[in-house]
């Protein structure tokens, strides 16, 4: 392994600009003559707009334009779309209500977009927005996930019972039969709490219009600028794709929330032409809370059937998923195909049946958030497994190992074909790392100090490397989920790689360059990674679902194959040998059995000067592109074990130890992979202990700032003990499985299993705040005293 090749902990190439304050985020972009947009948002969760008067506001200082939903309609600007069609059990399509970028006659959640003011300064735009007179007729709001279906309040006329869809997966009869044969059935009710993604960089957009050429440019905080261009062009109708450039420069975290095409960037790019000036908008944090797509928000009943020996026979799940007031870009896929196919976990379960009711409510739209459906599934599986082990009086680690899938490939009853894995190896390693044998002593030590200690396991699996286009197409996706790459070799042998993946913290400028350096045998500093600009990169599907390694890098791998193949042709001419006799290794083309060779840089130069061949026999130049479409999902899996200590007097939970063992297949840069694991665990611990988006009964978001919504801080978390096992992924050339979401998927059940272990199996909901833990601890203490 070279110091900068595959497997090396190369320090990140992108870091210099970030640590010196030279990062280029969307809000750092300032265009000549730029004006500022401010969105007037609904203060009501549900209301009819009886009338709106903008005359006074329009005359205020600095105002360049005020636009409403009527103006968008006049210009035939379409509504926002949901790109994944889900069908009801009866085969009918899901019920999608209209989603205008600016409200047309009705607002459906607090923060919904009513009008936009464009002015010389942000302060002037905000002042003018306050002077817009809107006459609302308030309507009752439906907020509660579990009570939305059949509520009197109807969010969309298209869905009179607030049902977006009633969907199912699995064999119901086989599952019922399994339950009839069972010796033991475990039943649990769970709430997967609503979260706000809260990337540290708020969303932002700068729209620009070049009247000379009729070209729009949108700078935006996007994880997938090409998908944004496709949707803005083909569905919303801003401009044809050749007249619309989307640039996603440095993006300060995404976690899913920047996949989607929102109202604000749509309006900014459209308004740039209306006012003849560049238009900039940056969310403040409360706007982010109100209008970014939220995550999770499931209410679930689940049951697990086991035989007399503790072998799992079947699983039944019913989930109600809150999708908010409108269907966001990929929202319908999250509680369906990103959720139910993961309910087999790491376990050999012969029969599974899952039914999902997705509902509209007067809350912000809900869509993918780190893990997207898979954390929700893992929470169901790992809480069921843990509770079952306790009810059966079995050691939770042994119960898991008893039921692990041990032979691969393994076809689950819920679509997925697991290709490879070694779950027992991960569990064994994690048990050693956490010193499971010493747990009894540690529990006794805690008890002597008046504390409660508990341990919690989570054996997770995820399906990522999203995704084979044909497979997702058959399940309702409106797009294919391949990735593209172009490798441009310059005449001096340096390389630019254009990728359709987008980096917003993942370190692609380093890991992708490692791949190129490794394969071409050139210094890593000679490789530049270009992403995030539709004028530079032809097409791409972006970064989410832990897909950039498995899919994005596989596209680069394929393009590099073509570069090497072309290089061999050039080398054959230069070295005057037969092409079949040319080898390429360690940065040199050589003629078999001789000492004649040509280094990669010289080959590149020869390809461009083209003196040794003519265009009839070989085209000049060295540039190749590839599209890579995966043949299967990838299946990262692992075991996370969390050990907590609770102070029953205060309810404060301290995480004392965390052991994570993940199998991500082959790893390009272990430093970056471990960083992804750390960050994912922190977000999952946030969900388990601290975070929860709360709407009151009127639909007001009462957690709409960092003063009300608890973000994990440094002293909420321990240092993490991270280990790995490796079974290379067989379905892509690099053997990569993906690592971006694992921590967030694994960690919530590990924390809750640990807390409930400490509390003598007393159940607790997320977030397990000190108040909730204190109540549960007191209940547990009185129950145990009574027993």
């Amino acid at each position: 392994m070279s110091a900068t090749g595959i497997g090396a902990a190369v320090r990140r190439k992108e870091d210099h600009r970030f640590i010196t304050g030279q990062g280029r985020y969307t809000d750092d972009v300032n265009r000549p003559g730029q004006a500022h947009a401010y969105f007037l948002r609904s203060p009501h969760a549900h209301a009819k707009i009886k009338s709106m008067d903008t005359k006074v506001a329009a005359g205020m200082p600095g105002v360049l334009g005020i636009f409403t939903g009527d103006d968008l309609a006049t210009d035939k600007i379409g509504g926002l779309i949901c790109g994944w069609m889900i069908h009801n059990k009866d085969g009918s399509p899901m019920r999608a209500g209209p989603h205008p970028a600016l409200a047309q006659g009705k607002v459906r959640y607090v923060g919904d977009h009513v009008a936009v003011v464009v002015a010389e300064t942000l302060a002037q735009a905000r002042d003018a927005a306050e002077a817009i007179a809107v006459d609302y007729q308030e309507l009752p709001a439906v907020v509660d996930t579990a009570k939305a279906i059949g509520a009197k309040t109807v969010v969309h006329d298209e869905a009179p019972d607030n049902s977006v869809f009633n969907w199912h997966l699995g064999d119901k009869d086989a599952t019922e039969n399994a339950f009839r044969a069972a010796k033991h059935v475990t039943k649990i009710d769970l709430v997967n709490n609503r979260l706000v993604p809260n990337a540290m960089e708020p969303r932002a957009a700068v729209g620009d219009y070049d009247a000379g050429d009729g070209i729009f440019t949108l700078y935006t905080t996007s994880q997938n600028p090409h998908v944004a261009r496709l949707v803005l062009s083909a569905f919303i109708g801003i401009a044809p794709e050749n007249k619309l450039r989307v640039i996603a420069p440095d993006v300060g975290g995404g976690f899913g929330s920047k996949i989607f095409i929102y109202a604000e960037e749509t309006v900014c790019v459209w308004a740039a032409k209306k006012v003849g000036r560049p238009v900039k908008w940056t969310a403040d944090r409360t706007e982010a809370f109100l209008s970014d797509a939220h995550g999770r928000d499931h209410v679930t009943h689940a049951e697990l059937a086991t035989d007399a020996e503790g072998k799992i026979l079947g699983m039944k799940v019913h989930t109600t998923a809150n999708l908010g007031a409108y269907l966001s870009t990929f929202s319908s896929s999250v509680p369906t195909y990103l959720y139910a196919p993961l309910l087999s976990g790491q376990y050999d379960i012969p029969a599974i049946y899952c039914e999902v009711d997705a509902v509209y409510t007067n809350t912000a739209p809900v869509d993918a958030y780190r893990g997207a459906g898979r954390p929700e599934a893992t929470f169901v599986v790992e809480r069921l497994i843990e509770v079952t082990a306790r009810q059966l009086g079995k050691d939770p680690a042994k119960f898991r190992m008893q039921n692990y899938i041990k032979k691969f490939p393994h076809q689950t009853p819920v679509i997925m074909m697991y290709d490879t894995g070694n779950y027992g190896a991960s569990m064994k390693k994690a048990l050693e790392m956490i010193d499971y044998k010493g747990l009894g002593k540690r529990k006794r030590d805690s008890a002597r100090a008046g504390k409660l200690r508990g341990i919690g396991f989570s054996s997770y699996i995820e399906a990522c490397g999203i995704a084979p286009s044909a497979a997702v197409g058959s399940l309702g996706a409106g797009v294919g989920l391949w990735e593209s790459a172009e490798v441009r070799v310059n005449p001096v042998g340096t390389v630019e790689v254009l990728t359709g993946s987008h980096s917003h913290g993942q370190g692609h400028e380093t890991t992708f360059a490692q791949l190129v350096s490794d394969r071409l045998g050139i210094p890593i500093d000679n490789v530049s990674i270009v992403h995030g600009d539709t004028d530079k990169v032809q097409m791409g599907m972006g970064t989410y679902g832990s897909r950039s390694g498995a899919v994005g890098m596989s596209a680069i791998f394929k393009a590099l194959d073509k570069v090497i193949a072309k290089g061999k042709k050039v080398a054959a001419h230069v070295l005057e040998a037969d092409e079949a006799d040319i080898d390429f290794a360690d940065g040199h083309f050589s003629v078999k059995g001789t000492d004649r060779k040509l280094d990669f840089g010289s080959c590149a130069l020869q390809a461009y000067v083209a003196h040794k061949f003519n265009g009839q026999e070989l085209e000049p130049g060295l540039k190749e592109g590839a599209f890579y479409d995966p043949t299967n999902f990838t299946f990262p899996a692992g075991v996370h074990i969390c050990e907590v200590e609770i102070d029953p007097e205060t309810g404060v939970t301290r995480i004392e130890r965390w052991a994570a063992v993940d199998d991500f297949g082959n790893v390009i840069n272990p430093m970056i992979v471990e960083g992804q694991v750390h960050g994912g665990i922190a977000q999952g611990v946030g969900q388990a202990l601290l975070e929860g988006a709360r709407y009151n009964a009127d639909g007001q978001l009462v957690t709409a700032s960092f003063m009300d919504y608890t973000m994990p801080r440094a002293d909420d978390l321990p240092s993490f003990d991270v280990g790995m096992t490796v079974t290379p992924c067989p379905s892509n050339p690099l053997g990569i499985k993906g690592c971006g979401e694992a921590g967030a998927i694994a960690s919530p059940p590990a924390v809750i299993n640990a807390i409930t272990d400490a509390l003598g199996h007393e159940d607790i909901a997320m977030p397990a705040t000190p108040q909730a833990v204190w109540r549960a601890a007191q209940k547990s203490i009185s129950r145990q005293a009574a027993e």
């Binding site: 870091d15 010196t20 809000d27 302060a123 300060g252 403040d284 430093m671 960092f706």
Partner: protein, 166 residues
């Protein structure tokens, strides 16, 4: 309108501004020093943290006119020319950043922590002292390591001239 005069990263600047201009707006919009970020507007996250007369402040809740005459150091002023500050080096070496958005505030906060608490910082001290800065990417694990290493390196004397002058 109001006039404000400051020394920013060693350079004297004077400007006429709307009196409601926040220090972070003045830095980002008037001076185009965009390394200082706005993450929350409520002095919770610390992305906007700068040094004001040598002490850490949240520039998103500081009116520019209220600090007339002060000396401000931002992330852009931390290195001495091409020579990075040891805390900047430590964040890179220990992978203390991912998306980079909270990073300027983290580094400025870390330098302030060392100025207040010295060069030998244990994990508990760093974690507790860092409660004014939020990172969503790293889980803090590598930030804590970076700060401990950066603090130690600062103790070995490799501190750029301007920082020492504060």
């Amino acid at each position: 309108m109001a006039t404000v005069s400051l020394t920013v990263n060693g350079k004297a600047v004077t400007a006429t501004i709307d009196p409601r201009t926040l220090l972070v707006q003045f830095l980002r919009e008037n001076l185009r020093l965009t390394g200082t970020h706005v993450g929350c507007d409520t002095s919770q996250c610390g992305a906007c943290l700068v040094h004001l007369d040598g002490k850490a402040v949240k520039s998103c809740t500081t009116l520019a006119v209220s600090v007339d005459g002060a000396s401000v150091t931002t992330i852009e002023g931390l290195a001495a020319g091409d020579k990075l500050h040891p805390m900047q080096e430590a964040f890179r070496e220990h992978h203390g950043l991912q998306c980079g958005f909270c990073t300027p505030g983290m580094i400025m906060s870390a330098v302030d922590m060392v100025n207040r608490r010295g060069h030998e910082l244990d994990e508990k001290t760093i974690r507790e002292d860092l409660d004014g800065n939020i990172c969503r990417c790293t889980g803090y694990h590598n930030i804590v390591k970076a700060i401990a290493a950066g603090a130690e390196a600062m103790g070995k004397g490799a501190v750029p001239a301007r920082q020492a002058a504060e």
